[in-house]
Amino acid sequence: MSLLPPDGGEPISTGPIATGPIAAAERPEPAEPTPLGDAWHMFRRNRAALAGLAVLLAIVLMTAAGPSLYPVDPFEIVSAPLLPPGSEGVPLGTDYLGRDILAGIINGARASLAVGASAAALTMAIGITIGALSGFYRGWVDQLLMRVTEFFHVLPPLLLAMALVTLFSPSLPTIAIAIGIVSWTAAARLTRAEFLRIGTLEYVLAARSIGARNRRLIWRVILPNALPPLIVSATLTVGVAILFESGLSFLGLGDPNVMSWGLMIGSNRTYMLDAWWAATIPGIAIFLTVLSISLIGDGLNEALNPRLRQR
């Protein structure tokens, strides 16, 4: 997976201020906020990213509060099948069995977000561990881990995930794990590249020179400096994982006991010509979620990328 390029609208830093001021006694600038505060400042100026954040927060809010505000069982047949949106009692219409689509959207969000977030967490955990060890130790460790990474990289992800889900039970945890297993290679390569770059910097040597152990060098010295691109990558991975989960559900490999957007699209697709809304509304939900996450990732990229950051 590649990082989205920044949209180029941000002014590039005009010149380095980093080279030596004149006297040690001088205070270069008043104490300013932490790097994180800096990043938030940059992020806030990106309207698209802010909009994405607002949409995602709305979706998260809906997932959390929706079921109690609109307590309709998404599996319960409430009305005649394929009623259009705006019908009596069913604001978004009903599906081919007469189930409430709004209830499906509200309850399906949980599966999408839960699988998206946990699959992304697993993807990053595997990828960062493999990439960090590879880029830190180099030599034969690197050779070995990179061959393993390449092996996973060339496997067709959807087929492998389908095989894994079929082998074990199709439950949400299984699906999240399957997505994690097929998609960590990009994170591993990104982490490795960052570790190779940062590992040669002087502050790593300086940390060694005061007796730092490898464990501390990896997790406390190099990783924090490698985080910006990894955070962006993690964000985008959430979007990819949501799409992946929808894909699996669409193919009937989702958890049959949990309502999900992919399942709704998959089961209603045959009625597309008679009742477009039944498959399209969950499609729009997926689209909005992934789009908002991508916009956030884009904004984070800009806010955290040192080449675009203004100092």
Partner: protein, 328 residues
């Protein structure tokens, strides 16, 4: 000064792996450092000064950097071949090191206080609060009071180098290796940093191995000097002797390179330079490595010169020295 040397390096050979096989980058390096003393290690880029320093704290570039011969003794204890746990105790605890680029030698994502505190927590078992307090004290000691909560980018170059010194000294090592500590700094800040190093040395009796290419810095700071060329020490002796009576043509040339402002107005003074470049270590000329650039080279320079004493505690590896010894 008497007593056993704090640090004794002898017969040190070191090689680095390159695409064309191992290249010897240090040959027969030998020197000693006594308590409270400053030894200057001088030479051009690529002469092996930094590699010598890295060998002493066991941080040769990996993979490929190895000590192939010789010994490094810390208070008489052999460090060549020591295990990783022993080396970690050496680093920071017994030998501290500061680097040339204060801009890049501090971790940008942590405050300077946290960085100093981290080493205290890891090695001295201090709690978070106590370690941060000690870090603040160390920063105040090196002249950066009240800035422990600042990130490196909020400090000026001189302040960063001071913070670096505080970090290297946090666990009170007896030896401080300063690798071009002032090269990246403005002239006025340079003087302040050198003053700070002298001050620290007086207060704690820290021995300093000062690596520089600047004979001016040596004149100001060093008790003794070792001049390195192409991975070999070509001359060593007291700073006074080497600066006033350099025996090796290379030392003479380095001293001639110090810019001297002339008092008489209008008189232009051409800076001296040494013709030619430091030879590639993979293709060293046979005999004296400096011979191809040496104005005084003669037939004997095709054979490697041994070290000849030119005075008490002053020696140079040059056939000319032997010639004068014979002549007088």
């Amino acid at each position: 000064m008497s007593g056993p040397p704090l640090l004794a390096v002898s017969g040190l050979d070191m090689s680095l792996a390159t695409r064309d096989g191992p290249v010897t980058v240090l040959r027969d390096v030998a020197f000693s450092l006594r308590e409270g003393e400053t030894l200057g290690l001088v030479g051009e880029s690529g002469s092996g000064k930094t590699m010598t320093a890295l060998a002493i704290i066991g941080l040769l570039p990996q993979p490929g950097g190895i000590v192939t011969r010789g010994s490094i003794r810390l208070r008489g204890e052999e460090l060549v071949g020591a295990g990783p746990a022993r080396w970690r105790r050496v680093r920071g605890g017994e030998i501290g090191m500061i680097f040339q680029e204060p801009m890049t030698a501090l971790n940008p994502v942590f405050t300077v206080g946290e960085q100093i505190a981290e080493t205290l927590r890891a090695h001295e078992g201090l709690g978070r609060r106590a370690a941060l307090a000690r870090a603040g004290e160390m920063l105040a000691l090196v002249g950066v009071p009240g800035r422990a909560g600042d990130y490196p980018h909020q400090l000026s170059g001189g302040m960063r180098q001071r913070a670096m010194i505080a970090m290297a000294l946090a666990r009170h090592p007896k030896i401080l290796i300063a690798d071009e500590p002032t090269t990246a700094l403005d002239v006025t800040v340079q003087a302040q940093i050198l003053d700070l190093l002298r001050d620290i040395q007086e207060r704690f009796g820290t021995a300093i191995l000062l690596i520089t290419h600047d004979m001016g810095v040596i004149a100001e700071m060093a008790d003794r000097v070792a001049v390195m060329y192409a991975g070999r020490i070509v001359e060593d002796g007291s700073a006074a002797a080497v600066l006033s009576r350099p025996a090796h043509p290379y030392s003479r040339a380095l001293i001639a390179c110090i810019p001297r402002p002339r008092a008489e107005a209008g008189e232009r003074h051409l800076l001296e330079e040494i013709p030619g470049l430091v030879p590639s270590l993979a293709r060293l000329p046979p005999g004296c490595a400096f011979a191809p650039r040496c104005p005084a080279a003669f037939a004997r320079c095709r054979g490697a010169p041994p070290s000849f004493a030119t005075g008490p505690g002053h020696a140079a590896a040059c056939w000319l020295v032997e010639a004068t010894e014979v002549a007088t």
